[in-house]
């Protein structure tokens, strides 16, 4: 197996008596899509939050590019190369789609302390940002404010922002949600290629997408990884079937 880019060990998190992350360990290796599935409330989003730094773990370690990032802030982790999308879209609602992406481009380029040059007339910001919008099929909506975009468009905007960071690993939390069959299908194709740029930790409910994309699947139930393996191993795992898929397979 390739060397892990992201490596989570024994991660623990509780909210009061509720254990949301219960000794989770997982790896994300170069070139792969590692899908994280599990029923609602299993703790998938909370796990993504801990990796990205928006939620602080109670214990365990998170290593990224060989470095312990468990104590770093959100912005530092993003600068190191963690690009994420939020399950509940988190954008600058008053900014256009374009300016939302430009924010990521300017961060990627370094300083945000230039206070004199107008960003909208700076091609080193607008061009890469437009490019990213084009990649997710939002170029036509570049000048619409994030607040006015549809649910599915916001999800794609989140991905465009993550792309603009040129990250070393992607963390996507249910990117297909609310997208409709057409949208999911095109996004599936897109993610399929994207893994070449950087590996993806993909939380997803759409099983067709997961089975089509994942190199590896981990199943989270009540904060615990109950199984991890290839798509066919997971499909045939009795415990997974009982705990999660029920009659579906």
């Amino acid at each position: 197996m390739a060397e892990a880019i992201l490596s989570v060990r024994n991660l623990r998190k509780s909210y009061g008596a509720l254990t949301v992350t219960d000794g989770v360990s997982l790896d994300l290796c170069a070139g792969e899509i590692h899908a994280l599935i599990g029923p609602n409330g299993a703790g998938k989003t909370t796990l993504i939050h801990q990796i990205a730094g928006t939620v602080k773990q109670d214990g365990g370690t998170i290593a990224f590019l060989g470095r312990d990032i468990g104590g770093l802030g959100v912005a530092e982790r993003a600068r190191l190369g963690l690009g994420r999308s939020f399950q509940i879209s988190s954008l600058a609602p008053e900014f256009s789609a374009l300016r939302n992406v430009m924010l990521a481009v300017q961060s990627q380029q370094g300083s945000s302390f230039h206070a004199f040059r107008p960003v909208m007339r700076d091609p080193s910001l607008t061009e890469p940002a437009l490019n990213m919008l084009e990649r997710v099929g939002l170029a036509g909506r570049a000048h619409v404010t994030a607040a006015e975009l549809s649910h599915g468009e916001r999800r794609r905007l989140e991905i465009a922002i993550a792309l603009a960071l040129c990250p070393r690993a992607f963390l996507f939390d249910e990117p297909m949600a609310g997208m409709g069959p057409e949208g999911s299908k095109s996004l599936t194709g897109f993610l399929n290629d994207l893994r070449q740029e950087a590996p993806i930790l993909l939380v997803e409910h759409d099983m067709d997408a997961v089975f089509a994309l994942a190199d590896r699947v981990s199943v989270l139930v009540y904060g615990r990884v109950i199984a991890s393996g290839s798509v066919s191993e997971i499909r045939n795992n009795a415990e997974v079937r009982r705990a999660y898929f029920g009659e579906h397979i």
């Binding site: 939020f86 008053e94 990521a104 206070a115 960003v119 000048h143």
Partner: protein, 329 residues
Amino acid sequence: MKRMRAETPINFLLAGLLLLVPLAALALEEPFYITLATRMAILALAAVGLNLALGLGGLVSFGHAAFFGIGGYTAGILSTHASNAQPLMTWPIEIGGSDNMLVIWPVAVVLSGLVALVTGAISLRTSGVYFIMITLAFAQMIYYFATSWPAYGGEDGLSLGLRNAFPGINTALPLNFFLICYALLIAALYLFARIRDSRFGTALQAARQNQVRLAAVGISPFPIRLAAFVLSAMMTGLAGSLFADLNRFVSPSMLSWQMSGELIVLVILGGTGRLFGPVAGAMLFVLFEFILGGFTERWQLFLGLILLGVVLFARGGLLGLLAGKVRHG
């Protein structure tokens, strides 16, 4: 991309109107109206400063009177020492007073900025109501310090004998002094517009809209907001030094919480985050003060009602009413 903002013509109109008032006053030989227009320009400048923090950054500072007053006392104290020829301090180096605006302004700006750096670094650890309260608390500390500092007038304040000087311009002439204040206001507006459209301004506005998003793209909100707070205080401090020169008097009332509140009112009245919001707000405010103040001592009650109307029915303030919603690029 060269789309003109809907409010641009309105901005020109406001800028022209403010310039016209003193010229008309001069023609009508009513110098009092020049003072009124100067007051508008100075309060607008102070509010442009606040608008940077409040409008762009979403930082509801209830303590900007501190910077306004620091600017005022800088002008007052330096000019007092210049007129009585006593040095301000003798150790470790001797520093004398000055009645030159070109000396007073940078001192006022730097002092306001330094105080903002310290108070901002602490205040910005909090947010929401706590931020409002802690900025108020810092301003009140400075207010009480000024009232109990007899060397510079304590509660009674400090009179400036003559208006401070500007090389080559007779500042004693009301129109000249107005033009100085007006020029600084226009410069501050220009700076505000540049900042708003820049990378820094983008990050600052993103911090107001969604701090988590800003951090998720790798930009820490704290240094951005702190820098904005400091810049904001510097502009308000500059306005304070002009205000002391306008009145030839500085007192703790410049540092009072009422003053902080007035500045917030100016910004909201005109349109929070709008380039010319503070100008519209200051013009309206001074006008109300003048007209309503002639009828009743309780004109602030009416101002309160108008403000209530603005907050309930015209969230974009006067400019919002006239020019519609803000469009960001």
